[in-house]
């Protein structure tokens, strides 16, 4: 993968979007998703990570009718249409919240902190929320 370290004329960088916030209480999760969908149109190596309260963004069964905000949880399903396929969720964050991958709206790769940390360390650009 050395060729990614010194981008040439056709630059391909590793972009990682790290989601650490719960949805709705703040707009961070929503506006981070907006960036990801735009970024997907560029030919870059994109991965999306959910740690800490970010795992709650993917919780199944969200119904925002009575709080008046848009339910954007279904939009995560569009990541696959945009060819964003590296979607990682931290195992420790899920467990702390009593959740499993079955509770989430999209299929994800569940990784222990150690493995996830190794992947994070290889990125060129990390955008957190």
């Amino acid at each position: 993968m050395e060729e990614f370290e010194e981008p040439g004329p056709e630059i391909v960088k590793r972009f990682m979007y790290v989601n650490r916030r719960a949805p709705y209480g703040t707009i961070y999760a929503h506006e981070c998703l907006e960036v990801i969908l735009v970024a997907a149109a560029f030919d870059q190596d994109v991965s999306v990570v959910f740690v800490d309260d970010g795992v709650y963004e993917l919780k199944k069964g969200q119904d925002t009718t009575d709080i008046g905000l848009k339910n954007f949880s279904k939009t995560y399903g569009a990541l696959d249409d945009y060819d964003v396929e590296k979607i990682y969720v931290e195992k420790e964050s899920l467990e702390a919240r009593g959740l499993t991958a079955d509770d989430l709206v999209i299929p994800v790769e569940v990784l222990a902190a150690k493995e996830l940390g190794e992947i994070m360390a290889k990125q060129d650009i990390v955008l957190g929320s």
Partner: protein, 119 residues
């Protein structure tokens, strides 16, 4: 019962303004009087009439403005917080007025309850 409301965050970024709005609607429906809604800190951004959310999203500036005018609620934007953040008369939505922090303290004194929404 007379209820005062304090909102410390702007629209969209935090849920504070949404929660306060729904609380206010529910309080009115139950026959309570809203003594005043005071917008402080980033809450002053709730009065920016240039706000234009996507068409399928709620417009909190309009919602507050309409609720205030329909129910004769005093919507007060803190002048000190507003000046700093560039919320001036020329962009303040109708139904809001700019005034001093004393209006918040007075709401605390005159209302039976004061509920704070923020971050």
């Amino acid at each position: 019962m007379k209820i005062g409301i304090l909102i410390n965050e702007g629209p969209f970024t935090h849920q504070a303004s949404d929660s306060a709005y729904r609380f206010t609607v529910a309080a009115l429906a139950k026959g309570h009087e809203i003594y005043r809604v005071f917008f402080y800190k980033d809450g002053v951004n709730n009065a920016n009439k240039l706000s234009e959310p996507q068409t399928d999203d709620r417009n909190l500036v309009s919602l507050w403005s309409e609720l205030g005018q329909e129910n004769d609620i005093d919507l007060v934007v803190c002048v000190a917080a507003a000046l700093r953040r560039g919320i001036k008369d020329e962009i303040v939505k109708e139904g809001f007025r700019i005034s001093g922090l004393g209006q918040l303290v007075e709401a605390g004194i005159q209302a039976d309850r004061l509920v704070v929404f923020g971050d």
